[in-house]
C-alpha cells in the first residue's frame, strides 16, 4: 500500500510553458506595472517569487539577482505577498484597460 504522506514529486506538465501562456490574452501597457530591484534580490536567499509566480515571470540570473518581465502578468499579487526583501518589488496595477484579459475562467 502506498497511501499516506506523499513526498513532493514535481510532475512535469504536459505542455510547454510558453504554449500555456499563449492561451491567455494580454494587452501589454508601455510602462511596466511591477519593477524589480535586482540589487536587493541578490541578497535574498529564498527567491520565493521564482517558485510561486503562476506566470513564471521571475528568472534567477547567474549573478544571483532576478530578471523580471511584466508583460504576461496575471496581476494576482503573489509575488509581493511572498517577497521578503523590503523594497525589492514596486507593485501597482497596469494602466486602465491594459494587462491580462481572462475570458473563459
Amino acid at each position: 500500500m502506498s497511501g499516506g504522506a506523499e513526498p513532493r514529486r514535481p510532475v512535469v506538465p504536459d505542455l510547454a510553458f510558453e504554449d500555456r501562456m499563449a492561451t491567455v490574452e494580454f494587452r501589454v501597457a508601455e510602462k511596466a506595472h511591477i519593477v524589480v530591484d535586482s540589487d536587493i534580490c541578490r541578497s535574498c536567499t529564498t527567491k520565493a517569487c521564482v517558485t510561486a509566480c503562476p506566470a513564471n515571470l521571475f528568472v534567477p540570473t547567474a549573478d544571483g539577482g532576478v530578471l523580471f518581465n511584466y508583460e504576461q502578468c496575471f496581476e494576482c499579487g503573489t509575488c509581493y505577498l511572498v517577497c521578503n526583501s523590503e523594497g525589492a518589488l514596486t507593485w501597482e496595477y497596469p494602466l486602465g484597460g491594459h494587462g491580462v484579459v481572462m475570458r473563459s475562467s
Binding site: 506523499e6 505577498l81 486602465g96 494587462g99 475562467s105
Partner: protein
C-alpha cells in the same frame, strides 16, 4: 465643488456591481469604476456560484444569467497519491429552478451583473484604474484618484470593491493585521472537450454539472484542488497557501499537473486541449483576518474585505461578494439620505451583515481555515481515511475481517496521529461545522 456622484464604487466584480445596483435603485448617482477593458476581464475563480443571494435582487435570475452548468452532483474527494475516497451528493432539485450552484465564466457573469447595475442607472466606466483615495483635511475619504487625465472622482462615499489586493483599503489603514499567511493562490486550467464528451465522461445530460473538491492532492502544500464541468469544457486547478507554495519549490503548473495525473482524475481529462490558463489570489484567512470594513467616507466589500468562505466542505466567494456589496449599497442609500457618511453613519453596514449569512457564516466558521490548512487535515487524515477505506473493502480471505476499530487504530498509528489530537480536531470540527 459639488460632487457629480453620491457614490463611487471601485471594481465591477460581483461585490461592486451588487453595491452599484442597490445604490442606483435607491436613487443615488453612482459611478461604477472598472480597471479592466470590461467587467470580469481581471477575474477568475475556482468554481461555483450560489445564486440564492440574487433571488430578490434579480428575480428569476436563472432565466438570464450566463450559466455554464447547474451543479447537480457535488463531490468531496479525499485523496493520496494513489488512492481516493469520494462522497458525492446528487440532487435532482439542484437541476431545476430556483437551482443551487452554477458553474460560470467570470468574464460572462461579471459583465451580466454589471449590466444590471447600468440598467438601474449606475454609470459604468471601464479601462480606468483607481490609483488612490482623496481625503479632506480631517482625513475623511472624499473620492478617488484615477489614472485618467483630470481623473479625480469626488463622491460622498467610496465603496472599495477593488479585490483581494485592495490598495484602497490598505491606503485607508483598514488592514491592521495584514499578513501574507492569510492568502492562497488559485491556479486553473480550462480544458476543452466538447459538450458531448463532457456529458459522456461525467455522466451528465443537458445542463447538469459536476463539481469535485479535492483534499490531499497538493503535495503537502496546504490547500486543495478542484475539478468541475463547464458546458463544453472542464476546469481543473489548485488553491494553495502562497507562503507555503513559495517555500515548496514546486511551481503552480506542476501542482496542477499532479492533480491531472491522479488515477481518479486522469481518465476525465484525456486528450483535452488547454483553452485558458489563469491565476488569482484568494483571501482565505476568514473572519479573524478581515479588515475594518468602514471608515469616514469609505466602505469595503467583496474580496477587498476578505469576504470569502474557504471552510473545507464549503467553498463560497461570489455569494459573499454579492451579499456584502448589497449591504454596502443599502447602507449607502440610507447614509446619503441621512447626510451622514461618517464611520458612525455607516455603522449599519456591519450590523446588517452580522444578522445575515455574510458575517454570520464567517463568524461561525472562523476556525475553519486553521483546521483545513493544518498538516493533519492536509496529509495525515487523507492518508488515514484512504487506508481505512481501502482495507475495509479489501477482502483478505482466509483471514477474517479485522473490523473498523482495529483498522482505525492501525491507520492512526501508521500515520502518526495521536488519539488526543483526533479527539481535539473532532471537537473543534464539530464546533465549527456542527
Amino acid at each position: 465643488m459639488a460632487e457629480a456622484f453620491d457614490v463611487v464604487v471601485v471594481g465591477a466584480g460581483p461585490a461592486g456591481s451588487a453595491a452599484a445596483l442597490v445604490a442606483a435603485r435607491g436613487g443615488l448617482r453612482v459611478c461604477l469604476l472598472e480597471r479592466g477593458p470590461f467587467p470580469g476581464s481581471k477575474n477568475m475563480y475556482g468554481g461555483v456560484t450560489y445564486g440564492r443571494v440574487l433571488d430578490d435582487l434579480v428575480p428569476r435570475w436563472w432565466d438570464e444569467a450566463p450559466v455554464q452548468r447547474w451543479v447537480t452532483r457535488r463531490s468531496t474527494m479525499i485523496a493520496t497519491g494513489s488512492q481516493s475516497v469520494t462522497v458525492e451528493v446528487q440532487s435532482e432539485a439542484w437541476g431545476a429552478p430556483p437551482y443551487n450552484g452554477a458553474t460560470m465564466f467570470r468574464s460572462e457573469f461579471d459583465q451580466w451583473l454589471a449590466g444590471k447595475a447600468e440598467a438601474a442607472g449606475a454609470v459604468l466606466v471601464t479601462g480606468t484604474t483607481a490609483t488612490g483615495l482623496r481625503r479632506d483635511g480631517l482625513g475623511r475619504v472624499t473620492g478617488i484618484e484615477t489614472d485618467r487625465p483630470d481623473g479625480a472622482v469626488e463622491a460622498k462615499l467610496v465603496i472599495a470593491c477593488d479585490g483581494v489586493n485592495s490598495f484602497l483599503a490598505k491606503e485607508a489603514g483598514l488592514y491592521a493585521n495584514f499578513s501574507s499567511e492569510h492568502f492562497t493562490l488559485g491556479a486553473k486550467e480550462v480544458l476543452h472537450l466538447g459538450k458531448e464528451e463532457v456529458d459522456r465522461r461525467f455522466g451528465l445530460v443537458d445542463r447538469q454539472g459536476l463539481d469535485i473538491e479535492i483534499v490531499g492532492l497538493t503535495q503537502g502544500i496546504p490547500g486543495g484542488a478542484f475539478l468541475y464541468t463547464n458546458l463544453e469544457s472542464v476546469s481543473v486547478g489548485v488553491v494553495v497557501s502562497v507562503e507555503a507554495l513559495g517555500r515548496s519549490g514546486v511551481r503552480p503548473e506542476e501542482l496542477i499537473a499532479g492533480v491531472k495525473r491522479h488515477p481518479s482524475v486522469a481518465p476525465y481529462l484525456r486528450g483535452a486541449d488547454l483553452m485558458e490558463y489563469s491565476a488569482h489570489v484568494i483571501p482565505e484567512g476568514g473572519f479573524d483576518t478581515m479588515p475594518k470594513l468602514a471608515t469616514d467616507g469609505l466602505l469595503v466589500a467583496g474580496d477587498a474585505g476578505a469576504f470569502c468562505l474557504a471552510a473545507g466542505v464549503f467553498l463560497e466567494g461570489v455569494n459573499f461578494a454579492i451579499g456584502s456589496g448589497r449591504a454596502a449599497g443599502e447602507t449607502a442609500v440610507a447614509a446619503v439620505a441621512a447626510g451622514d457618511t461618517s464611520t458612525l453613519g455607516l455603522a449599519a453596514y456591519e450590523q446588517s451583515m452580522a444578522r445575515s449569512f455574510v458575517l454570520a457564516d464567517h463568524k461561525k466558521m472562523r476556525r475553519a481555515p486553521e483546521i483545513i490548512l493544518s498538516e493533519r487535515m492536509q496529509l495525515q487524515y487523507p492518508g488515514l481515511l484512504c487506508d481505512v477505506a481501502e482495507q475495509l473493502f479489501t477482502v483478505t480471505n482466509p483471514t477474517p475481517k479485522p473490523g473498523l476499530l482495529r483498522l482505525l487504530r492501525r491507520g492512526r498509528r501508521r500515520h502518526g496521529i495521536p488519539l488526543a489530537g483526533l479527539v481535539k480536531d473532532g471537537y473543534v470540527g464539530w464546533r465549527t461545522f456542527g
